[in-house]
């Protein structure tokens, strides 16, 4: 990451910490939602952006995480354990689902995850004894950590922001590790990676499982944020939304999910007058982006910057020489 990148990220972090003090509760709710969805989108980015597999189950995993969290909180378990449990459970289920599903060809995972999401919805809705069925679970309390109560909107936002930072840092570190480097090599040239002895399936499976685990963590934050969960929130709509977020932000870019989630959360607000058209506009943007700039908004910005930098030719480097992408 170059110096300009560090400055930008640093400024964004400062902004993220300062902004809730200028917002009403609704605004704070929006940015909390952004933080929560970014975590899920990051997970999907691993599966989709890096490993190149289409998963339509991310929403279902958020749901599993949210329901696990809600039920365990109401059973009296302490939150940190609940949080980790939600992540681990989703990781395990992701592994179990991915193991057989990734054996088959590329595009089939999309259908398997499509079916899985609908099945999860049916179970959440029908098994009243476990999930309270269609009526949902209400009155989910926000956790108190080491004496600090997050019940207040602003406090809960900082909690989400903190979780996001920790998870993002962990993911960044993971991608920089030897394992992570091999994983990225997979995307760049799968055949070469295979010839070097990398077990593609193993890595893809890990990516899918980790991605699902992250969705579980996202759900663990979603439940106390919204404080009322019901099966409908975790159906295909959420999976599609997350998919679009990753694409819009830039699949395979580390910060792509951040931008994508921001657009998804704020677009309805920007389109206040024509709010019901929001999803249509969103889908149209995605199609246009895919057609002209498959690497999403971040890719678009990158291209613009490259173009201007190329013309100016700083540091005495010839205009056509390009720096390697991180």
């Amino acid at each position: 990451m170059n110096r300009l990148g560090i400055i930008v990220v640093g400024a964004a972090v400062i902004f993220a910490i300062a902004v809730p003090f200028f917002l009403k509760p609704f605004g704070i709710y929006l940015i909390s939602m952004w933080a929560v969805l970014t975590i899920a989108a990051m997970g999907l980015n691993l599966t989709l952006g890096y490993a190149g597999q289409i998963s339509l189950a991310q929403g279902a995993f958020v749901g599993i995480g949210a329901y696990t969290t809600a039920l365990l909180i109401q059973a009296g378990w302490p939150y940190p354990i609940v949080f980790i449990s939600a992540g681990l459970l989703c990781f395990a289920i992701g592994w179990g689902l991915g193991y057989p599903a990734l054996r088959v060809q590329h595009h089939y995972l999309a259908f398997v995850t499509l079916a899985f999401t609908t099945l999860v919805f049916l179970v959440l809705r029908n098994e009243e004894w476990l999930t309270r069925g269609i009526y949902g679970i209400s009155g989910i309390a926000r956790p108190t950590l080491l004496g600090w109560s997050t019940a207040n909107a602003r406090d809960f936002y900082f909690f989400c922001l903190g979780a996001l930072t920790v998870i993002a840092a962990a993911t960044w570190w993971m991608l920089r590790s030897p394992w992570g480097r091999a994983f990225i090599a997979l995307r760049e040239n799968p055949i070469r990676a295979l010839s070097l002895g990398l077990d593609t399936r193993r890595y893809t499976l890990m990516a899918f499982a980790i991605g699902s685990g992250l969705a579980g963590l996202s759900g663990a934050l979603y439940a106390p944020l919204v404080q009322f969960i019901e099966p409908n929130s975790f159906a295909l709509g959420l999976s599609f939304n997350l998919l679009l977020m990753v694409i819009v932000g830039g699949g395979g870019c580390f910060f792509g999910p951040f931008v994508g989630a921001l657009v998804a959360v704020l677009l309805p607000e920007w389109m206040r007058i024509t709010q019901s058209y929001y999803l249509m506009v969103y889908a149209a943007i995605v199609m246009l982006l895919l057609a002209f700039c498959p690497s999403g908004l971040l890719g678009l910005i990158e291209r613009v910057i490259k173009a201007t930098r190329g013309r100016r030719g700083p540091d005495g480097i010839a205009p056509n020489a390009e720096r390697a992408n991180p």
Partner: protein, 291 residues
């Protein structure tokens, strides 16, 4: 026993609809590696073209023709030129995502620009009921069955007995070789898109009187198309038809005899089982994968 026959008969009628939609889906997949997640919405849309034409005063038969023409032009030609061709350059993945976005776009457009309420749709044949062996089937369902069978037979004839059809099959099996042999592959691929445009329009006209024209129709129909195509075998048109019929009957039987709360789960479980155990589908051929 009477009820079992009724379920079988109704399942057959529903299955015929699924078959029609699955055939178009399979065709696109076979010939151009296009997995069209928007196939359900493609079936939902022509009904609204027709309703709009009728709102502007056209009689039904004219509106239907306009609907088919628009479907071929927009869902066939424009779809290929604007979405599929640019995307395929980047790979299958962006194309699939693009069709997912397209399905959302079409659904929301109809909801916003036409109506979110179900619209009654005129039937092709007046609906009377026929009694067969203690079961009742409506003439509409029979019409659906008839049209589906005719369409499939026509398609098979086209693909196997005509020169154009055989060129299309060659393009599907090995595009590079086909090109070397002098087959205008791009035109062949275009033909499949146009055929799909006709198929979805016909399916729309058959389905909408029963389902009522509504923007959410695409969800259930699309899902049914995918399941039918995969169960039957996505690389065989025959497979799509059988898959559709099996699905229709399975749907009805599971709703009646197994839990009604999990009626939607049964086809999905079969789908997962087929993908894991026999990915080429019940009637498909095992595909060789080139690197």
């Amino acid at each position: 026993m009477a009820s079992f026959i009724q379920l079988l008969v109704s399942g057959l009628a529903t299955g015929a609809i699924y078959a029609l939609i699955a055939v178009g889906f399979t065709l696109l997949w076979q010939t151009s590696q296009t997995i069209n997640f928007a196939q359900g919405e493609f079936v939902m849309l022509p009904a609204f073209f027709i309703l709009s034409a009728m709102n502007w005063g056209a009689p039904f038969w004219l509106a239907a023709l306009i609907g088919i023409a628009l479907s071929v032009a927009i869902l066939g030609l424009l779809f290929k030129i604007i979405i599929v061709d640019p995307m395929l350059r980047h790979g299958v993945l962006p194309l699939v995502i693009s069709t997912i976005a397209l399905s959302l776009f079409l659904k929301e457009s109809v909801k916003d620009f036409y109506s979110s309420q179900a619209q009654p749709f005129p039937a092709l044949v007046p609906s009377t009921d026929i009694h067969i062996f203690d079961a009742v089937i409506s003439t509409q369902s029979l019409a659906v069955l008839a049209v589906a069978i005719v369409t499939v037979v026509a398609l098979q004839v086209l693909l196997n007995k005509t020169r154009v059809g055989r060129c299309m099959q060659a393009t599907a099996q090995n595009p590079t070789l086909a090109r070397i042999l002098g087959i205008p592959t791009r035109r062949m691929v275009l033909y499949t898109f146009l055929i799909n445009g006709v198929l979805v329009a016909v399916a729309s006209i058959l389905v909408s009187p029963i389902y009522l024209a509504k923007f959410t129709n695409g969800e259930t129909l699309g899902m049914a198309a995918f399941v039918a195509a995969i169960i039957g075998g996505y690389n065989q048109v025959r497979g799509a038809i059988l898959g559709g019929v099996i699905l229709g009957i399975l749907d009805n039987l599971s709703a009646a005899y197994v839990s009604s709360q999990y009626r939607g789960a049964f086809p999905l479980l079969v789908l997962i089982a087929v993908i894991l155990l026999r990915p080429q589908g019940l009637f498909g051929r095992i595909e060789e994968r080139t690197v």
